[in-house]
Symmetry: C2
Subunit: 241 residues, 2 copies
Amino acid sequence: MLYVVGLGPGSKKLMTEEAREVIENTHIIVGYATYVRLIEDMIEGKELVVTGMRGEIERCKKALEIAATGKDVAIISSGDAGIYGMAGLILELAGKMEQHIDIKVIPGVTASIAAAAHLGAPLMNDFCHISLSDLMTPWEVITERVDAAAKADFVICLYNPRSKGRPHHLRKALDIILKYKSPDTIVGIGKDVARPKEVDKVTTIADLDETEINMTSIVIVGNKNTYVEDGRMITPRGYTL
Amino acid sequence: MLYVVGLGPGSKKLMTEEAREVIENTHIIVGYATYVRLIEDMIEGKELVVTGMRGEIERCKKALEIAATGKDVAIISSGDAGIYGMAGLILELAGKMEQHIDIKVIPGVTASIAAAAHLGAPLMNDFCHISLSDLMTPWEVITERVDAAAKADFVICLYNPRSKGRPHHLRKALDIILKYKSPDTIVGIGKDVARPKEVDKVTTIADLDETEINMTSIVIVGNKNTYVEDGRMITPRGYTL
């Protein structure tokens, strides 16, 4: 069996029991070095296959090759494996193989949900996830989605908001959002959520300092009803109180 | 301390360690009867405050009143407490109180993520969450969001897709989606996910039988690249394989 496991955002406290059991009971673990370090005290004595960043295809192929020999193997992602993680790639590659591989996807807490809980309750109404990485999605498609989401007043979770290679994507996305949303719209930023260096911040589109944001950050842009109370970002569900 | 706890979709295997620890260590548990039943073997000997459906405001007020006396209390939601759950309402009501209450939101696996894992990997590209319940959001706002999400080719997760009181909302939403997406677009349905009666089904917009769908179902409408392989619903991330 090949298990595709979402570890949650970082802390083992946010791992599901099913993910923990699979890691404990599986002898071979495949993963990107940073993710393997998140669980290093759980994997003593196990066989590790560790690959570098952007080694996703190689990593998935190795996991499938091991599973094809009949062994149990777990490939790990941070967050949820099915949200910009390894689950899709594993299933795509498995579909190209002649041999049938048994695959089980184990869900996890994705970064936006953990960041939201630590920021308050920003996702209480309809929301979108948009990745600002154009490595695999054309930038025009991404901007069209940002435009549509802002126009329809979704709460917007921006994944991969800003990196050295893409320093201006967040600014460009916010400029599109400002066509429809006020500069006073509340923005929450969760950086290294559920990890020792975690920083959470609630600000507005106008006051956001994009240089504080990197690839380990999640940016959540509120809807027109989102407000701040006692330092927390709250999107009302719509109850009359 | 008032803990707002997401239990995950049903099975305790999908509960996070932090949620489990809070439930175990907190003597007073507040919740809707159905959610309390999900964890009945964990709450023996505890003080329970159980309210009926649509008793959300009353339930949250009770939890806040108990916390105001200085006692620890946990209010529970299924899935994630911050996604159409109790976290927002608790924070909204706390903001109206004179006394400061310490509140901690414990994230959980929301229904769409669990359903996605069991259906395959449909959320590998940008996606939206839209609730089709118009109890608290005007139907025009909901339909505008469905329109925007379909036009920009998001994967669309529909929460509260269909109930006795709203038998036609799903059909109306699919009719809007069909303005932009093909009838052959893949749809995944997760019903009672991670519970004993779970049924997962992969179909298309054209073949979807809406009478099979109820309030315990999540409907995930794919994007134009979503396909089915070996019975699983896969939205490609965009790797060149």
